[in-house]
């Protein structure tokens, strides 16, 4: 009682304020250490490595941007960077074009099966990633499932090798990988749009099409962008998919990072490529989210 009264009159004393700050610092300290050690330091080290030089497998601590100059001067790197960017853009874009309308249908048309339908889309996320990618090799290979099927229905006379080991295969597989993520984000956003907004728009005489473009899309657009961005970043940094189904024409940046840390043994150059991947990803996210700022908010 007395304590309450003093607090009301004077506010917390200097001593107790110091104590509370001290307690808070002690509590927060481990969390800050965690973030520093596992997030900040690794990223700083990655940057440092990309500015150092490789000399026959040992690292010379000379500070310069020689690695980046080598990279951007190299024809191969430029081709790969452009290709990786386009592949990531295409696969995230196609995944969004499939997953968002699907999420819309599931939310609006599936009634009480909505949750089940949504969960069924997400389940493949937890089937081994390697297996999902590798299975496409079994399906698309020269004597794979697809070729056998097409041959048995008489559509082609001899097995085609065109399905596997191409840029298209990589785009398709990465689209496959991205769909559940884009779906999850789109679904969550679409579910939050209250039903009465659709009804109100319809009552005002708007066609379903108009309702979608003037009401639903502005409310869910930011989420779609997040989904698209997740798909893009996933695809941009991938090396498993291109090396399993890409062949030579499907090689991406990730594959040459792997090389630098493996056979080529040039860590600083590999770090520079990784930094380029990270920076491109961040830049892309910034641009995309700048152009699709939230126009409206669900109250």
């Amino acid at each position: 009682m007395a304590a309450v009264a003093t607090r009301v009159v004077e506010g917390p004393s200097f001593g107790s304020r110091v104590r509370s700050v001290a307690v808070r610092t002690v509590l927060v300290f481990p969390a800050l250490v965690w973030v520093a050690v596992l997030v900040l330091v690794p990223n700083i080290f990655l940057l440092l490595y990309s500015l150092w030089q490789n000399d026959l497998g040992t690292i010379l601590h000379h500070w310069n941007v020689e690695n980046y100059r080598t990279l951007f001067g190299s024809q191969v790197f430029q081709v790969l960077l452009r290709r990786t960017f386009l592949i990531a853009l295409a696969s995230a874009g196609i995944a969004t074009l499939i997953a968002y309308p699907l999420a819309f249908l599931v939310v609006r048309r599936f009634g009480r099966f909505k949750t089940t339908a949504a969960l069924l889309i997400l389940v493949p996320l937890w089937v081994s990633y390697l297996m999902r990618v590798f299975a496409w090799r079994i399906i698309l290979g020269e004597s794979g499932v697809l070729n056998s099927f097409l041959k048995s229905i008489g559509l082609i006379s001899k097995p085609s090798s065109a399905f596997l080991y191409s840029t298209t295969t990589v785009i398709m597989t990465l689209t496959y990988v991205a769909i559940p993520y884009v779906f999850l984000v789109s679904y969550t956003a679409l579910e939050r749009v209250p039903r009465h907004l659709y009804e109100a728009s319809g009552d005002c005489g708007a066609s379903p099409w108009r309702t979608f473009w003037s009401v639903v899309w502005p409310l869910t657009r930011p989420a779609v962008v997040v989904g698209f961005a997740i798909g893009f970043v996933l695809a941009f940094g991938d090396y498993v998919t291109p090396s399993l189904v890409g062949g030579l024409s499907g090689t991406m940046l990730g594959s040459i990072v792997l090389q630098q840390f493996g056979t080529a043994n040039d860590w600083p150059l590999g770090a520079a490529i990784a930094m380029t991947i990270l920076a491109t990803g961040l830049l892309f996210l910034a641009v995309v989210s700048f152009f699709t700022r939230l126009e409206a908010q669900i109250e």
């Binding site: 927060v28 481990p30 997030v39 080290f45 990655l46 390697l130 297996m131 794979g144 056998s148 769909i179």
Partner: protein, 296 residues
């Protein structure tokens, strides 16, 4: 207003036949499109499962005869078993670390106001969204600089770095919707912070915590892009299989994937049931009852 709509409906006497047919055609078309997306998503796992029972060792049609031989071979393959055992050990360790730190960070973010809390959350979450390759390499260069050889420890730390934020954010979700008066009641009744945590807070977040651990476990079991850079001589199952896929594939891999896939699905079903199912309420009621007991 309502009378107008009724007259309109009476006037039209239903849509014309052509319109109805068009509607059905559109519905069939959309239905087929949706079904094909599901087929697209499920074709790879189903194909793998089917081929794990195929006697032929080449991954092509036509199908040989059905066999459990690859599963038997799996049981007699010491390298594959070592990899599975190693993966399990790593997943359990990473999830253990993630559970302790994840809950602690969730409580800190939820309770303690400190400058830069949002920045902290964003940084904590970043390993979840960084490309695995970048995360793997950045950790590798740190471990290399402090001369920690790649192996069990480095993989566990790598996995804990992305499982921990997963636990934090799932638990945080629950903390934000939970009733703070339960803990205040417990404290007011003289229970210390530790007793309150053990008897009130922990039972309240138990369900999301278990679900997050199950999700984290399957993520860790499946991880390859980070693990690849942090593994020493002994690889985890995905790293070992990655080697096999490129040099010397056998359908044993299909069998291993089918088992792991089935196991993951089982864990996911449990986790989902815990998160969305009726599990939420009994847990909360129990927490309430405990709080009542403590306060008594």
């Amino acid at each position: 207003m309502s009378s107008a709509s009724i007259t309109a409906r009476v006037d039209k006497s239903g849509p014309s036949l052509a319109r109805r047919v068009a509607g059905i055609v559109i519905k069939v078309f959309v239905g087929l499109a949706v079904a094909s997306v599901y087929l697209f998503l499920y074709a790879p796992p189903i194909v793998t499962a089917i081929f794990s029972f195929n006697s032929s060792s080449i991954q092509t049609l036509p199908f040989g005869h059905a066999t459990l031989g690859w599963y038997r071979a799996l049981l007699n393959d010491p390298q594959m078993q070592a990899a599975i055992y190693y993966s399990l050990k790593i997943a359990l360790s990473a999830v253990g670390i993630a559970a302790v730190f994840g809950v602690a960070f969730a409580l800190i973010v939820h309770r303690v106001k400190f400058p830069g809390r949002n920045v902290f959350q964003a940084l904590l979450a970043s390993p979840l969204v960084t490309p695995g390759m970048v995360l793997g390499i950045s950790l590798l260069v740190v471990f290399h600089s402090v001369s920690v050889a790649p192996g069990f420890l480095t993989i566990v730390i790598g996995h804990a770095s992305f499982v921990t934020p997963l636990v934090t954010f799932i638990v945080l979700q629950r903390l934000r919707t939970s009733d703070p008066s339960l803990e205040q009641a417990s404290m007011d009744s003289g229970a210390g912070p530790l007793r309150t945590f053990w008897h009130v807070t922990l039972p309240g977040i138990r369900v999301p915590l278990i679900a997050a651990c199950l999700l984290g476990f399957t993520l860790s079991m499946d991880e390859i892009t980070v693990t690849f850079f942090l593994a020493g001589i002994q690889g985890t199952l995905p790293v070992y299989v990655w080697g096999l896929l490129r040099f010397g594939f056998t359908p044993e891999v299909n069998a291993a994937f089918t088992i792991i896939g089935g196991g993951s699905l089982l864990l996911i079903v449990i986790a989902t049931a815990l998160l969305v199912g009726a599990g939420i309420r009994p847990g909360r009621r129990r927490a309430q009852r405990r709080a009542e007991l403590v306060t008594r």
